[in-house]
């Protein structure tokens, strides 16, 4: 159940593109054709599925406060979490390089379709973002980390696939010249993001049971920066009642929980 919830939450509710804007650069640059978009999307799923669990192990056994305790009790007071950026990005860069070499060696056909995207992926925000969100949301187990990596990748894949399909079709419509290309892509992505917000209700539901369940989930998976799971009413109430929005968001989140 936990797995299933995380799976759907990462694909729809916390979709990398529509909720957190991760990997926008390659999303905008490579979404002109469906075929290339599929290639890049598959590569992202693949790399996220490998690097998130790896970085989870790094975080768990090296970086977090007291993680070094397995070396001996005198290491229990070490907190290396300030090193996480550099270690995460090093892991990602080397893994991407490694995957590229292995794929080239064993499956030239896969390399031909995926290969050109792999170097691009090392500097894709979605990959590093996956690891950083995994860390800040305190994903509880290795299995969940694998799940989180793959399902966020699928969410990203879904997003780039849809925008590529829309962009292929939009070539036939009469877009105002200044909006052509980049401008209209931004606006379409915005509209799609509004559509994806409706998935937020999937986890809150309408009845008491569902609310209790969500409370449990948000205890294990910390709420993201943007609140997607709150209903519109909560949001409007919050806006009216407070001077500083961020404060009140946190407050209301706590109340809901």
């Amino acid at each position: 159940m936990e797995h299933l919830e995380l799976f759907f939450k990462s694909i729809f509710v916390d979709n990398m593109i529509f909720a957190t804007f991760l990997g926008m650069c390659s999303y905008l640059a490579v979404s002109k054709k469906v075929a290339t978009a599929v290639g890049l999307g598959a590569a992202v799923i693949f790399v996220l599925g490998i690097t998130v669990p790896l970085n989870w192990l790094l975080d768990q056994y090296i970086l977090r406060d007291g993680a070094l305790v397995w070396l001996g009790s005198e290491y229990a007071s070490y907190d290396l979490s300030f090193l996480s950026f550099i270690l995460f990005i090093a892991t990602i860069a080397t893994m991407v390089q490694l995957v590229e070499i292995v794929v080239e060696k064993f499956s030239p056909s896969l390399y031909n379709s995926l290969g050109i995207f792999l170097p691009l992926i090392a500097v894709n925000c979605a990959i590093l973002g996956g690891s950083l969100f995994m860390q800040s949301r305190e994903i509880a187990s290795f299995g969940l980390a694998v799940n989180y990596g793959i399902s966020s990748g699928i969410g990203w894949f879904l997003a780039i696939l849809t925008i590529a399909a829309i962009r292929e079709k939009i070539r036939y419509s009469n877009v105002p010249p200044p909006l052509r290309g980049l401008g209209i892509t931004f606006i379409i992505t915005g509209l799609m993001a509004i559509g994806f917000m409706s998935f937020g209700g999937m986890l809150t539901g309408g009845d008491e049971e569902a609310t209790a369940e969500t409370a449990q989930v948000s205890e294990t998976v910390k709420p993201a920066l943007e609140i997607n799971t709150d209903t519109e009413n909560d949001l409007l109430e919050m806006l009216e009642n407070s001077e500083s929005n961020q404060d009140s968001l946190e407050k209301t989140n706590n109340e809901i929980n």
Binding site: F18, I89, P119, R180, G183, N245
Partner: protein
């Protein structure tokens, strides 16, 4: 302006408008949009990128002749990551609330395409002083967009600027609220950032028809 030759000035001024990293080069959108719901967060983000890009450009430009080209991506990533760690630690020490609010997005400066893009396109081929100016210019271009988006989203979304109420008090109904104005809470949600940037691109390209893309 004896300090800066005409060419140097172009390095700083070009990215502000006609060669803007966000709206023209389409770089660095990743970490920019999610934090623009408030002006203050946008400004802090812009300053962080300014620091990382200017210093990083100089460092890369200084060591450009000794980096083996095969592993240059990893070298660049390590340089950026080290700089971002400095920014992150400083923010945690002096502006803890804000660093909590920016959460992972400070870390995501590492993979901000503007930074890698400028390293690849400029710092690897030019001297330190020029790279420094190029870094400042591009970071300013990025900041301009970030601040415009942050300004509109905070103003229309919560009626405040930098946390100060500028449109009157929504609870006691003073100022604009007295005549029935309501905050548009939708502006605070993430999709609106995309649409605001779309509109900025629209305005910019209507004013300068050279920038219009082929269909």
């Amino acid at each position: 302006m004896a300090l800066l030759s005409k060419k140097d000035r172009a390095l700083i001024l070009d990215p502000l408008a006609d060669n803007n990293p966000i709206t023209i080069q389409v770089l660095g959108i990743c970490s920019a949009l999610a934090i623009t719901a408030q002006l203050k967060a946008s400004i802090v983000m812009a300053l962080s990128v300014l620091f990382v890009l200017a210093v990083g450009n100089v460092v890369i430009s200084l060591i450009r002749n000794i980096i083996p080209s095969k592993i240059r991506i990893i070298v660049q990533l390590i340089v950026v990551a080290a700089l971002v760690i400095i920014v992150d630690q400083v923010l945690k020490a002096y502006a803890y609330e804000l660093s909590k609010q920016l959460s992972v997005f400070i870390g995501l400066i590492i993979t901000n395409c503007i930074i890698m893009g400028r390293f690849e396109a400029f710092a690897l081929a030019n001297g330190p002083w020029k790279s420094f100016l190029d870094g400042i210019g591009n970071a300013l271009g990025y900041s301009v967009i970030l601040i415009i988006v942050g300004f509109f989203r905070e103003l229309l979304g919560s009626g405040t600027l930098l946390g100060i109420q500028v449109l009157g008090d929504p609870i006691t109904k003073t100022g604009l609220y007295a005549i029935g104005y309501e905050n548009n809470g939708f502006m605070l949600l993430s999709p609106m950032a995309l649409i605001v940037i779309g509109i900025i691109i629209w305005v910019q390209r209507s004013r300068n028809s050279k920038l219009i893309e082929e269909n």
